[in-house]
Amino acid sequence: MNLPVYAYINLSTGELEKRTISESYFKKYIGGKTLAARLLLDHYPPGVDALAPESVIIVNTGPLNGTGAPSSSRFNISFKNVLSGGVASSNCGGTFGVMMKRAGFDGLVISGKSEHPVHICITDGDVELLDASELWGLDAEKTQESLPKHHGKLVIGQAGENLVSYASAVSGERVAGRCGVGAVFGSKNIKAISAFGTAEPPVLNKKKFDEFVVKWVSFLKKHPMTGDCLPHYGSAGLVNKANANWALPTRNFQRGHYEQADKVSGETLADTRLVRNSSCVSCPIRCERRVMLDGKEVKGPEYETLGLFGPNIDACNMDDILRLNYVCDILGMDTISAAGSIAFAMELKEKGIADFGVEFGRTDNLVDVMYKIANREGIYSELANGSKWLSEKYGGKEFAMHSKGLEMASYEPRRSVGMGLGYATGNRGGCHLNGGYLALLESVGALSLDAQSPRSKAQLTVFMQNALEAVSASGFCLFSAQTFVPAVFFKLGPNHFITRMAGRIMTFSGPLVRFILNIAPALWINSFYLLPHAEAVRLVTGIRMYTGQFVRLGERSFNLERLFSLREGLTAADDTLPDRMTKTPQVKGRADTVVPLDVMLPKYYKTRGWDKNGVPKPRTLRKLGIEV
């Protein structure tokens, strides 16, 4: 069995050590965010601040990275969440993960703080710590231009250097955006990591795997979601759909519908700005938008950026959004948290509480504001701390749209209550993906559950969270899992009787889903129609991985991350949403347009095997083989 090799790097002492992960860890935790969560629990000193020199950050891959499997270039970064104080994982596409693996390393465990800016340079089995003083102060784009051309790169911009709480790390034009990973890099004086290697990542059963990949790529290309919707419109295609279902956050989540949303929709983007679509390494889906900005071809915005720098700040200027997307990327800032913090500041101004020079409907000054935030200039330094911090200083907690300190993604949970439960329970905080992304089944997809009903949402959220965890852990993009909605529902469409009936039936599927979760390891099947990732893991590693074990792997992952957050001081009280979501109906007089979190949360804990305080029961940990 080919076991993962990690480089342990202490930046304070300059010590470098190569360690092989044990077989028992590999079989149990696989890689990516799951193995990283285990290593964080093992190596992160309890109670240490996210930005302290003693903090630990893990940059790692999954077993499928670099193997040529579809959509398998994602790498993971796990660390202590700058915004929440709990666990964080941030996921990114691009070439860095693949290159690190080709260079002979499955992951890096980085501790300490360098005395000077450092470039961690990984080439074919060697790790060097190079002085990066000359790169300090450069934006992410210029930093990458200064690094060896053929290396996979992971860098920070000015926001990371200045410890902006939602600073990101940038790889090519892909971004590990959430939870402040860039600030953790900055706190350790890590300006860049680059990797280059020529080794082929190991694949145990090469012939069968290659055959499987050919079939899987064909399946992805034939499926309407991955073969048609995503290549044509990218995630940007969700703007009009979310808007049509009143799930598009508008004016800091005051509403869920924006009259002029079409001006910033994926369709309009495709019609007026799209130059071509592109992809990460070995991805047949090709969701990336390429657009022209000031005569230069750049990466186009994702749905989140369109929604949050558009309707959520009461604006619909596509040109300004393209520019803000680009500027946030080169400064190294998460567009979701940046836009969320700005929206909160705009409402503070609207209510006469505080004035940061930003107001609803105005985007022409926001590029300037982004630079000031990234450089922590004057009062803008406060915006760099995120909406939770701002609400604690100025008030307005009821409309500070975050969970656990992490700003919510662009889905209005009062029209997607399962997504609301996901925001509240996600280990990262207000993240749609870590939250199980029920919005796809409730308000923006082909198949629609009853978006207002709490029924079955606890069980479905648990199942989806577990499944997405496992997909991430293996090194796959979550888009590759979107084929689990059968193609027939796309062909029939959302208005067809059968599609509507399927949605209704799923609304009552909770007990069945819970039963499946309980017997998961007994599901010794692999299928293209559910989670083909399990079969890929089996063929590459030799680990007996089937759909049931795969979902159980995700459950293990979710619980490990939960344990880390609990150890660092988070409690059940943090599994919450702002009052605007739980107490103020989106539509006046319609009591069902709030998130019934108090109804769903106890069921969620029960389904997870947690006690009423949200702590995994000893029996649950034994079932998952987790030793604390």
């Binding site: 309407p224 979601m225 991955t226 919707c229 995503l230 044509h232 419109y233 990218g234 995630s235 940007a236 295609g237 969700l238 009009n240 759909k241 808007n243 049509a244 279902n245 009143w246 519908h257 009259e259 949303a261 079409d262 994926g266 369709e267 019609d271 969701c287 994702e302 749905y303 749609h432 993906l433 992304y437 796809l440 923006v444 997809g445 082909a446 629609s448 979550l478 888009f479 979107q482 796309f490 062909k491 029939l492 469409g493 959302p494 208005n495 067809h496 509507r500």
Partner: protein
């Protein structure tokens, strides 16, 4: 009574109708789809039915589905399904 409806096509419907924007007369969504069929053929109507249909920006599933009434000047968009995250 039929009303003049501003219609916007996306995706395959642009190819099938040869237009992005249109004006049709209908008093309900069901009648609008019949108009689609009458004007552009069965394939256009079939494609329209399987898309997300929004009346004045709102999904007809949140309204009265195909029975949703249409009034003079209403905007109807046929939106392609999408995904992401």
């Amino acid at each position: 009574m039929s009303a003049k409806i501003q219609v916007k096509y996306w995706g395959e419907l642009i190819t099938l109708t040869g237009k992005k924007d249109d004006e049709l007369e209908a008093s309900s969504v069901a009648e609008l789809i019949k108009q689609l069929e009458k004007t552009y053929g069965k394939a256009a109507a079939k494609e329209g039915k399987r898309m997300l249909i929004a009346v004045n920006g709102t999904n007809i599933q949140l309204l009265e589905r195909c029975k949703t009434r249409l009034n003079e000047g209403d905007r109807v968009a046929f939106l392609p399904l999408s995904g992401g995250g």
